[in-house]
């Protein structure tokens, strides 16, 4: 399996993928952090869906990681696109046959691909965290937000917890992308269906039938990134979202193992 991981990392390191992905991650984190601080006094809100995070909340020990956790949903979408494209491209380029000739164990290919993309996701989330924390300090100075509580052990523990939650959420979105990639065998189809589902369909259906939020993987992964909400607990969101994703992954893994490779 390690051979697969080393091979996959050569592909993931290519500048056209890594530079553009890290640029997107930097842009998203920068945008979310900037809006959070620069619009802190705006009555129309400074966070997701028009919610307002006040200066007092930002000054709490958990304030340091708020910008980073707010960017998690969009980081997840980036991971979904990367995982879907990396998986489905093997079909569109016809390279899957090369991979299977060199590594006939299809499960090793699948697990190795997933592991290497998880490593990529770790780098993505780490970059976002570093950028989010740094910008928070800079913008806190600009907007007179006290950072006294951010150096405490509570703040450090909260930052670590947020990092882990955002990572779990981002990897979850990535697994969702991988499932779509294996199912549709085309990067364009997999990415468009994944993005439309997460950004539009889940959101729309949740507005009309609120209960559905508890069963949508995208919504639940966002809850995981936030460490739980007042409506959905962290443990419920984690177990349900990963339960759905792992079930999907097992189904597509069986398909991947049994399907003829004829393109």
């Amino acid at each position: 399996m390690f051979k697969v991981i080393w091979a996959e990392l050569v592909k993931l390191r290519r500048p056209s993928l890594s530079v553009s992905t890290f640029a997107a991650v930097s842009f998203i984190t920068g945008l979310v952090t900037s809006l959070l601080y620069l619009l802190v006094d705006s009555p129309s809100g400074n966070a997701r869906e028009g919610t307002r995070i006040s200066r007092e909340v930002l000054q709490l020990p958990s304030g340091l990681s708020l910008s980073f956790s707010n960017a998690a949903g969009l980081l997840g979408i980036v991971a979904l696109c990367v995982f879907a494209a990396q998986t489905a491209q093997e079909y569109t380029y016809g390279t899957l046959r090369n991979l299977l000739v060199r590594q006939p164990s299809r499960m090793k290919i699948l697990v190795g691909k997933l592991a290497s993309m998880k490593l990529f996701a770790i780098v993505m989330v780490t970059l976002s965290a570093i950028l989010g924390f740094t910008l928070s300090y800079v913008l806190a100075g600009v907007k007179d937000v006290s950072t006294a509580a951010w150096g405490t052990s509570d703040a450090r523990a909260d930052a670590l917890r947020t990092f882990i939650n955002v990572l779990i959420s981002t990897v979850g979105f990535g697994i969702f992308g991988m499932i779509l990639g294996l199912l549709f065998r085309s990067p364009i189809s997999a990415i468009s269906i994944g993005v439309i589902w997460n950004l539009i369909i889940e959101g729309l259906l949740s507005v009309f039938i609120e209960k559905l939020t508890k069963f949508f993987p995208g919504q639940l992964l966002s809850v995981v990134a936030q460490g739980g909400t007042k409506d959905i607990s962290y443990s419920y969101a984690l177990i349900t979202s990963y339960g759905i994703l792992l079930t999907g992954l097992v189904i597509v893994a069986i398909l991947f193992k049994r399907r003829d490779v004829s393109n």
Binding site: W6, V10, R14, G94, L100, V101, Q103, P104, S262
Partner: protein, 301 residues
């Protein structure tokens, strides 16, 4: 140890109602260069995919390098393959593409540059694959197939897109590999090329094996042809009739009459034509080529 590199028995693959490969039986001797020929859609690529574990047979079984094809992990580390043309990542360089496969197969990454040089891509290894011409892509595909220092090399149309010099280089490379002890199983539409390099042949038509054995046996079994070209085109039909009256099968192709018959028949035909007032511009007895044999056996053209 088995003396066959590939041995398939009753191998079939069915897609819906269509039988892509039908009860194929053939063996490829170890150390041989074996041509795999057949018209488009005759089941060559499907057979190759079954041999490489990419698709599972509907019925039958097979062995590659002595191992059952249901366990490809046992023999694929010793097999190099290029199936249905080269397929690589466009955004990676030629070298990076080979490194991906070398790492995946656990082969020495340091051999990559040497392989690129071997196929004539030594100075283009750092160019992105998407900038390669068809011939260069083909060469990279051959380099990838050579990564495992293969005991068996399976190549599907390796000379596609290559210029005459490139075709000659591939021919020389295959000969060298065979001399070094590798078995080569190669499909190609360039039958004249295969005739030059292959000592064995497997011929398919509509998914069925219609010949398997030595190339020399196949060609020797074909009746030679006498090609007679009359001075005047108006005499073509008359000349064909004369050949028939002498008990030989004849057909008019382009501006000549092709008559099935041994070398000695040429003199007899010449005399008969002269007696009928036909002057022959040329008269040549020839042995049927692989291409002609192929067309005759497969009913193509």
């Amino acid at each position: 140890m088995s003396n066959t590199a590939i041995d398939v028995r009753d191998l079939s693959k069915k897609y819906g109602d269509r039988l892509a490969v039908s009860h194929a039986n053939f063996a490829v001797p170890m150390g041989s260069i074996c041509g795999f020929v057949g018209p488009n859609g005759s089941g060559k690529t499907t057979t190759i995919r079954m041999l490489l574990g990419l698709i599972s047979p509907t019925t039958g079984d097979g062995h590659v390098l002595g191992e059952d094809i249901s366990a490809p992990e046992k023999y694929l580390p010793r097999v190099g393959a290029m199936i249905e043309g080269p397929a690589f990542y466009p955004a990676l360089t030629g070298k990076q593409n080979l490194v991906v496969l070398a790492k995946l197969g656990g082969f020495d990454v340091d051999t990559v540059q040497g392989l690129l040089e071997k196929v004539g891509l030594g100075d283009r290894g750092d160019s992105k694959y998407k900038t390669y011409s068809l011939g260069m892509k083909q060469r990279l595909g051959i380099a990838a197939a050579l990564l495992p220092k293969p005991k068996l090399l399976v190549l599907d149309e390796p000379t596609n897109g290559l210029d005459p010099a490139g075709i000659q280089e591939v021919r020389a490379l295959l000969r060298q590999l065979a001399d070094d002890g590798s078995t080569i199983f190669v499909s190609s539409h360039l039958l004249s090329e295969l005739e030059m390099i292959c000592d064995h042949l497997v011929m398919l038509r509509e998914g069925k094996v219609i010949f398997t054995g030595k190339t020399s046996d196949l060609l020797a079994a074909q009746q030679p042809v006498v090609i007679a070209k009359p001075e005047h085109m108006k005499d073509l039909n008359k000349l064909a009739e004369i050949a028939k009256s002498l008990g030989h099968q004849s057909t008019i192709l382009d501006d000549a009459v092709h008559v099935k018959g041994e070398k000695d028949f040429a003199a007899e035909l010449n005399k008969a034509a002269f007696a009928a007032g036909i002057t022959l511009a040329s008269l040549a007895p020839i042995q049927a080529s692989l291409e002609e044999t192929f067309f005759e056996m497969t009913g193509e053209k």
